[in-house]
């Protein structure tokens, strides 16, 4: 697409583009340089002069301490554990919601729709606080349950859209072979819907991992709480930015790897995203957006996620 928008650059355009590139690079470097320079300045606080941030003394104590890395590792493990259990729960809840939402009986369908809208329209953080205070489950289960329910609602809607986009003949064929409605749904429709919506579901699971960081607020000792709260009070506030940088690097590594894996799986196994997603699908959640691209080229699953 992009290449159609402009001609292959000639010598003059090439020169101009090169000049623009140089200017942009200089500007970016200047910005980064300014931040680095400011951080590197020595700083007075409370009568003591602290050395600049890139002085080894601001890193040495935590970085050379094996206990420190042990604590960081436990924090990361907690994050991954919450994300793992939450993901399994989200998938189960998602299938359940999709099943109830497409039920024949309005007595099942309408209440499910209301619950779904409610879950999707309210912040996950509020849900965590609610579960923590009302059900007194402890912080870990508050995080896991809230993430499971919220993302389950979103995955459920994605699955429903996948089912709706299947050709009607699939269901009719199943029924005419003598399968019950439930059998048709579980054996014929779900596998196809799941496959079709795989990019969106995987992207949502990456979002789920990112959202475990909200555990910081409800008091669950995941990675951010471990580093920015526990370890920073243990080692002292002078290491706060050091800890921030370490946390950021760990998160980016984990998330970028996972996004990359998700993208690869989606490209290899996933069917093409449906050309037109059913009406109302994009409401309430931001997740399903990417699949509305009409090109049908297996949209980058990451395009779809917002939270």
């Amino acid at each position: 697409m992009t290449s159609v928008l402009f001609d292959a650059p000639g010598p003059r355009a090439k020169r101009r583009s090169r000049i623009a590139s140089v200017i942009v690079i200089v500007l970016i470097l200047a910005g980064v340089g300014w931040i680095v320079y400011t951080l590197a300045q020595p700083r007075e606080s409370g009568g003591i002069t602290l050395p600049g941030y890139f002085d080894w003394s601001r890193w040495e104590k935590p970085v050379t301490d094996p206990e420190f890395w042990g604590a960081v590792g436990r924090g990361l493990l907690n994050t991954l554990q919450a994300a793992g259990i939450g993901a399994v729960m989200a998938l189960v809840v998602g299938v359940l919601f999709a099943l109830l939402r497409t039920s024949q009986s309005a007595f099942v369908r309408v209440p499910t729709t209301i619950v779904l809208e409610f879950l999707r329209g309210m912040p996950v953080l509020l849900m965590m606080l609610f579960i923590l205070l009302v059900a007194s489950t402890g912080a870990f289960w508050a995080v896991v349950l809230a993430l499971g329910l919220y993302n389950g609602a979103i995955i459920g809607e994605a699955l429903r859209a996948g089912i709706n986009s299947l050709p009607r003949g699939q269901r009719e064929a199943g029924l005419s072979l003598g399968m019950t409605r439930l059998q048709t749904k579980m054996l014929i429709e779900f596998p196809q819907a799941f496959r079709q919506m795989l990019p969106i579901i995987l992207a949502q699971l990456v979002v789920l991992l990112k959202d475990t960081s909200l555990g910081y607020i409800v008091g669950f000792n995941e990675l951010i709480r471990t580093t920015m709260n526990n370890l920073s009070s243990f080692y002292g506030n002078r290491y706060l930015i050091t800890l921030f940088i370490i946390t950021l690097v760990i998160y980016l590594t984990v998330n970028l790897t996972l996004s990359w894996v998700a993208r690869r799986i989606a490209r290899r196994r996933g069917g093409r995203a449906p050309l037109v997603v059913a009406d109302g699908l994009a409401t309430g959640s931001a997740v399903l957006v990417g699949s509305t691209t009409l090109t049908g080229a297996a949209a980058n699953p990451e395009d779809a996620t917002t939270e």
């Binding site: 402009f6 942009v24 607020i217 930015i241 921030f244 998160y251 957006v289």
Partner: protein
């Protein structure tokens, strides 16, 4: 229930704070996101490269960390903004790549023949994008953009945990103060959030139906 009625002014104040966070950060994210999307499709490689890196990095950082950046590192760099504006900056930064991606997928959704036709008529890059591609992409992009705003509404609650007295912050204080009525207090908070998200969702569905183009 009485707790909710007694504290209605506090709720309304929190609600207004949430709405102003939403409006400020939403406007900021739309502006920055549009700039980033324009850079992403531009012919200059360094611009598109920068836009790609910006998008990937911010999208893979948890909002909590972005807000930490605004609360801890910005003061270190010399800003003396109050928490509210720190939260606005954080939410703007976090939301902008999602806006950019929504815009980009809208632009990618315009059939390639449109661009080819425009180019073969002799229109330049600016004309093709401005007169042919963008007007068509715009209508496809509105529902996804509303979804981004809905997500932003929900994300403002994270700012509430960082000392901004928004709806979530108010709810948390009230829940701590009224241990016997936690359910009512928090359900009221949820209702206020739904007051924003559900109408936006309905609007998105409407517009999507309205703008659906048969090609």
């Amino acid at each position: 229930m009485n707790v909710v009625i007694d504290n209605l002014p506090a709720y309304i104040e929190g609600f207004l704070q949430t709405v102003s966070l939403l409006l400020m950060a939403g406007a900021g994210a739309l502006v920055i996101g549009t700039i980033v999307a324009a850079m992403r499709i531009s012919p200059v490689p360094s611009l598109s490269g920068f836009a790609a890196v910006y998008t990937e990095l911010l999208r893979n950082t948890p909002l909590t960390l972005v807000l930490f950046f605004c609360a801890i590192i910005l003061p270190y760099l010399g800003s003396e903004l109050p928490y509210f504006w720190c939260a606005v900056i954080g939410l703007t930064l976090y939301t902008s790549p999602f806006v950019a991606e929504a815009l980009r997928s809208g632009i990618n959704g315009v059939p390639i023949g449109q661009a080819e036709a425009a180019r073969s008529l002799g229109l330049g890059f600016g004309q093709t994008v401005g007169l042919i591609i963008f007007p068509q992409a715009f209508r496809m992009v509105i529902p996804p953009l509303i979804s981004v705003l809905i997500a932003l509404t929900k994300n403002t609650s994270v700012a509430g945990a960082f000392f901004v007295a928004d709806l979530f912050g108010v709810g948390r204080e009230l829940a701590n103060a009224n241990g016997n009525a936690v359910v009512a207090v928090l359900l009221a908070v949820a209702t206020f959030y739904l007051l924003i998200t559900i109408p936006l969702g309905i609007l998105a569905a409407r517009l999507e139906k309205r703008f659906a183009v048969t090609r």
